[in-house]
C-alpha cells in the first residue's frame, strides 16, 4: 500500500470513529485492530497490539502524571488552593481586575502542579467563574485567564507533559524543564499586560469593590500563613530535582507528599478530602492511560506501515525553508489538537517531527518547547479545542460557546506572540540550559 493510502486509512478511520462519538481510547483501539490486521499480518497483529500496550503502559515515564494530578486534586479538595486565592485577593487590595490577575498567578501555580490542563480548567472554572460573576466581572475576564493558565502550566516546571515529551523524544529532561522558565515568565507577563489593557479599555469589565484594608503586619501574616507554605511545595519539588535528591520523574511523588503534609499541618485533611482527591486523579489518569494504551500502537502502525516515513519524505521533498517547515509542523500540531488529547499527539508526532527538526538544524530542546506551546494553543483554539468544551461544561448557565471563543482569543494571541519571540530569539529558551 502506498504511504498516503496507509495514512489516509489510519487517520481516516480514527477521525471517523471519533466524530461518530466513540470514546477516544476505543476509537484508537478500533483503528488499531483494523490497521494491525492489514499491516501486521492479521490476528498476530492484534496480539502485537496488546503486547505494545503492555510495553507502553508499564513504563516509569508515565508515573508522574497521576501523581501531579493527585497533588492538584489534594490542593483543591483540602481547600489549601482557595486559601491561597483568598489571601492573594486580600493582598492585592483595590487593584482593578485583581481577581483576573489572581486567576493567572494562582491558576498557573495550581495547574503547573496538577500537570493536567483539562483537570485544572475544570477545577478553576468551577472555582473562579461563579465567584467573579458574583462580583460583577464580565465573563471574558474570568474565562480567558483560566484558559490561558494551561499554556503557562505546560512550560513552567514541574510539567509532567514536558517530562513525557523529553522521554519520548529522547532529549534531556532537565534541560527542557529549565528551558521553559524564561519563556514561561514572559508569557505570564504578556497575560498580565493583556488583562491590564482589557481593564483600561473597559473599566466596567472588572468593577472595583472595597475590601477591608489591612496593616502591613497583617499582610505579612497572611503571606507567611497562606501563600508561602503553598508555594514552598513547588519550590521544594524543583529544588529536590535540581539538587539530585530525586529524578524529575520522582518529583511528582514528593509534590503530592508535600501537599499532604501541608494539609495535615493546616488540619484540613479528612478521609473525605483524601478519597475525593484520589477519585479525581484516578478518573483523569485512567481516561488518559487507556488512550496511551491505544495510541502507542497507533503511532507504531503509522511507522510500521511506512505512512510516517512517507509523509516525512513528502514534506521534506518540497525543499521548504526551515522556517516554512516549522510553520507546517506547527499547523499540523494545531490541526491534530482539535481531535486528540496532548499525549496522543505527542506519541503520534514525536517520531516524525524530531528527526525532521534535527534534519532542519533546529535545537531539539528549543523545538520541544515550541511543540509544547503548539499543543497547548491547539487545546484552546476554536472551534474544537478540548479545553473550550471543558470550560463550557463548568461555566455558569447562559455562557455561550461564543463567549468562550472570544475570551480565549487574546490569550491565544499571547502564546502565538511567544512562539514568534522564540523563533526570533532562540536564546530565550536555550540560555538557561546552557549555563
Amino acid at each position: 500500500m502506498e504511504w498516503y493510502a496507509a495514512l489516509g486509512l489510519l487517520l481516516g478511520s480514527i477521525m471517523l470513529l471519533m466524530a461518530a462519538g466513540m470514546p477516544v481510547a476505543l476509537a484508537f483501539l478500533a483503528a488499531n485492530i483494523i490497521g494491525a490486521w492489514i499491516f501486521m499480518g492479521g490476528e498476530a497483529g492484534i496480539t502485537q497490539l496488546l503486547n505494545n500496550g503492555f510495553g507502553s503502559l508499564t513504563s516509569f515515564a508515565l508515573v508522574p502524571i497521576p501523581l501531579f494530578l493527585l497533588m492538584g486534586e489534594l490542593f483543591f479538595f483540602t481547600g489549601l488552593g482557595s486559601r491561597m486565592f483568598n489571601a492573594i485577593d486580600k493582598l492585592l487590595g483595590r487593584l482593578p481586575g485583581r481577581l483576573s490577575y489572581v486567576t493567572v498567578i494562582g491558576g498557573t501555580g495550581f495547574s503547573t502542579l496538577s500537570g493536567s490542563s483539562m483537570g485544572s480548567t475544570a477545577l478553576l472554572g468551577a472555582l473562579m467563574v461563579p465567584e467573579m460573576n458574583a462580583r460583577g466581572y464580565k465573563k471574558h475576564m474570568s474565562i480567558g485567564p483560566i484558559l490561558g493558565t494551561g499554556g503557562l502550566a505546560i512550560i513552567i516546571p514541574p510539567s509532567a507533559l514536558a517530562v513525557l515529551l523529553a522521554t519520548l523524544a529522547r532529549i534531556d529532561v532537565g534541560a527542557l524543564l529549565i528551558a521553559g522558565v524564561i519563556p514561561g515568565l514572559i508569557l505570564a507577563g504578556l497575560y498580565i499586560a493583556t488583562i491590564w489593557l482589557q481593564v483600561r479599555i473597559d473599566p466596567d469589565a472588572a468593577p472595583a469593590y472595597d475590601v477591608p484594608s489591612m496593616g502591613l503586619a497583617e499582610k505579612l501574616r497572611l503571606i507567611l500563613r497562606d501563600v508561602v507554605p503553598m508555594l514552598s511545595v513547588m519550590v521544594i519539588t524543583v529544588a529536590g530535582m535540581i539538587g539530585g535528591i530525586f529524578t524529575p520523574s520522582e518529583a511528582a511523588a514528593f509534590g503530592a507528599l508535600g501537599v499532604l503534609i501541608l494539609a495535615v499541618a493546616y488540619r484540613c485533611l479528612s478521609w473525605e478530602n483524601l478519597l475525593k482527591s484520589i477519585d479525581g486523579a484516578l478518573r483523569v489518569t485512567l481516561m488518559a492511560y487507556l488512550i496511551v494504551f491505544g495510541s502507542a500502537t497507533f503511532s507504531q502502525l503509522l511507522a510500521f506501515s511506512g505512512a510516517s516515513s512517507g509523509l516525512i519524505d513528502w514534506a521534506t521533498g518540497f525543499d521548504l525553508s526551515p522556517l516554512a517547515m516549522l510553520l507546517v509542523m506547527f499547523a499540523v500540531l494545531l490541526l491534530l489538537g482539535m481531535f486528540m488529547e496532548q499525549i496522543s499527539i505527542m506519541l503520534l508526532t514525536v517520531p516524525i517531527f524530531f528527526p525532521l527538526a534535527q534534519g532542519l538544524g533546529f535545537d531539539p530542546i528549543w523545538f520541544a518547547l515550541v511543540m509544547l506551546l503548539a499543543l497547548e494553543i491547539s487545546f484552546t483554539t476554536p472551534p474544537f479545542g478540548l479545553l473550550l468544551f471543558v470550560m463550557k461544561g463548568v461555566a455558569p448557565a447562559g455562557t455561550s460557546m461564543r463567549d468562550i471563543y472570544t475570551s480565549a482569543f487574546p490569550f491565544i494571541g499571547c502564546s502565538m506572540f511567544l512562539v514568534f519571540l522564540l523563533i526570533v530569539f532562540p536564546g530565550l529558551a536555550l540560555w538557561l540550559p546552557s549555563l
Binding site: 502485537q48 503486547n51 505494545n52 510495553g55 532537565g174 507504531q300 517520531p351
Partner: protein
C-alpha cells in the same frame, strides 16, 4: 524473489543499528532478484521489548536485537553475555550452530548471526575508584546504576548498592548525583553524553554484547534455497567484518575519551581474575537456574560454556 520485513531494537542513529543496516545493504546487493530485506524501522515501529514476540508471531520476519531482550524465553543467551570469544571463533567451533538450534526449538526462530561481537562492558565512575589491600575494587559508597543484565554481578559479587534507572534517566541521574557509576559497553558513552560526568574507566572489561539477527522460522523455511544461502553467507561474513569494524570504533572512542581526560584504572593479577570470574559465574548461575525451569532442562549447559568460554582468552 523473496522479501523479508525487518525491524531493529535501537534507534537508527546508534552504531549497532548502522552495522545492521550495512548487513541489509550487503544482502540486498548480493541478493538482487533473489531476496530483499525491507527495513520497517526501529523502536518507533515496534517497541524494542516487543520485537522478539513480533518475530515469533510472524508480525515481522526479521529482528536485530540483543538476546537479553528475550532472556525470559531463552536464558541460554547468557552464554553469549558471559563469553570471552567473538563470533569468529564460535562460528568455527559450532557454538553459534548450537545457539541456532536452541532458538529454533525454544522460540521458533532462526538465529542467523551474532553481529558486533567482541565488544565488552566496563564499569565507569565519576570519582577515582578505591582498591582494597588485595587490589580488589571497593564499591562501598558508590551509587551504581544497574539493570537486569548486570545486577547479578554487581550486587551478588561486588555487593554494590544498585540503583535501577532506565537508560533515558541516567544522564540526569549522573548530572544531579543520583548515581555516580554505571556499567556500559566500551562503545557508546560519547553518544549518550555520559562522558560529561564520568571520569574513570575500570579495566578489565567483562561480558560481551549479545546482538543477533533472528528470523521467523516458518518464513525461513519457505525461502528459496538460493535466498537462504545468500542470507547465511552474508551473515557469516558480516559476523567477522563487524568484529573488526567495532574494534576500530572502540579504539577511536577510547582515544577520544582519553583526550578529554578519561583515566583508566586497571585491576591486576588475582583481583582481576576474581572480578572476571565473578561476572562470568554469576551469569552462568542465572542461566542454569532459568534453564532448569524449562522442560528442555540443562542438557546444553556444559556444552554452551565449553563453546563460548575459553580460559586461555582471558587477560593474564
Amino acid at each position: 524473489q523473496d522479501t523479508l520485513t525487518a525491524v531493529h531494537a535501537f534507534p537508527e542513529t546508534l552504531i549497532y543499528t548502522q552495522s545492521f543496516l550495512d548487513f541489509v545493504e550487503k544482502v540486498n546487493e548480493r541478493g538482487e532478484g533473489v531476496v530483499e530485506i525491507q527495513v520497517r524501522g526501529g523502536p518507533e515501529a515496534i517497541g524494542m521489548f516487543q520485537q522478539p514476540d513480533a518475530v515469533r508471531n510472524g508480525v515481522v520476519d526479521m529482528v536485530y536485537t540483543p538476546g537479553s531482550f528475550y532472556g525470559g524465553a531463552l536464558p541460554e543467551k547468557d552464554a553469549l553475555v558471559a563469553s570471552n570469544l567473538t563470533a569468529i571463533e564460535t562460528r568455527e567451533n559450532g557454538g553459534i550452530e548450537l545457539i541456532d538450534q536452541i532458538h529454533q526449538e525454544k522460540m521458533g526462530v532462526k538465529y542467523l548471526g551474532w553481529f558486533d561481537s567482541g565488544v565488552c562492558y566496563n564499569l565507569w565512575t565519576r570519582d577515582e575508584p578505591t582498591l582494597d589491600a588485595n587490589g580488589n575494587l571497593d564499591v562501598s559508597g558508590l551509587k551504581l546504576r544497574g539493570n537486569a543484565v548486570y545486577n547479578a554481578f554487581f550486587t551478588d559479587y561486588l555487593g554494590a548498592q544498585v540503583i535501577d534507572l532506565p537508560t533515558t534517566e541516567v544522564y540526569s541521574g549522573l548530572e544531579r548525583g543520583v548515581v555516580d557509576a554505571t556499567g556500559w559497553t566500551q562503545i557508546g558513552l560519547i553518544d549518550l553524553k555520559w562522558n560529561e560526568f564520568l571520569n574513570y574507566r575500570i579495566e578489565p572489561c567483562f561480558f560481551s554484547t549479545d546482538l543477533g539477527v533472528i528470523v521467523n522460522l516458518d518464513k525461513w523455511n519457505n525461502l528459496s534455497d538460493e535466498a537462504k544461502t545468500i542470507l547465511q553467507d552474508v551473515a557469516i561474513e558480516h559476523e567477522a567484518a563487524s568484529v573488526g569494524a567495532l574494534k576500530a570504533k572502540r579504539d577511536e572512542d577510547f582515544a577520544a575519551l582519553e583526550e578529554q581526560g578519561m583515566q583508566v584504572v586497571t585491576l591486576e593479577g588475582q583481583a582481576a581474575a576474581d572480578y572476571l570470574a565473578a561476572a562470568r559465574e554469576k551469569t552462568w548461575a542465572r542461566m542454569q537456574g532459568l534453564m532448569e525451569e524449562h522442560p528442555m532442562g540443562t542438557e546444553n549447559y556444559d556444552k554452551l560454556i565449553e563453546l563460548f568460554y575459553d580460559e586461555s582468552a582471558d587477560p593474564t
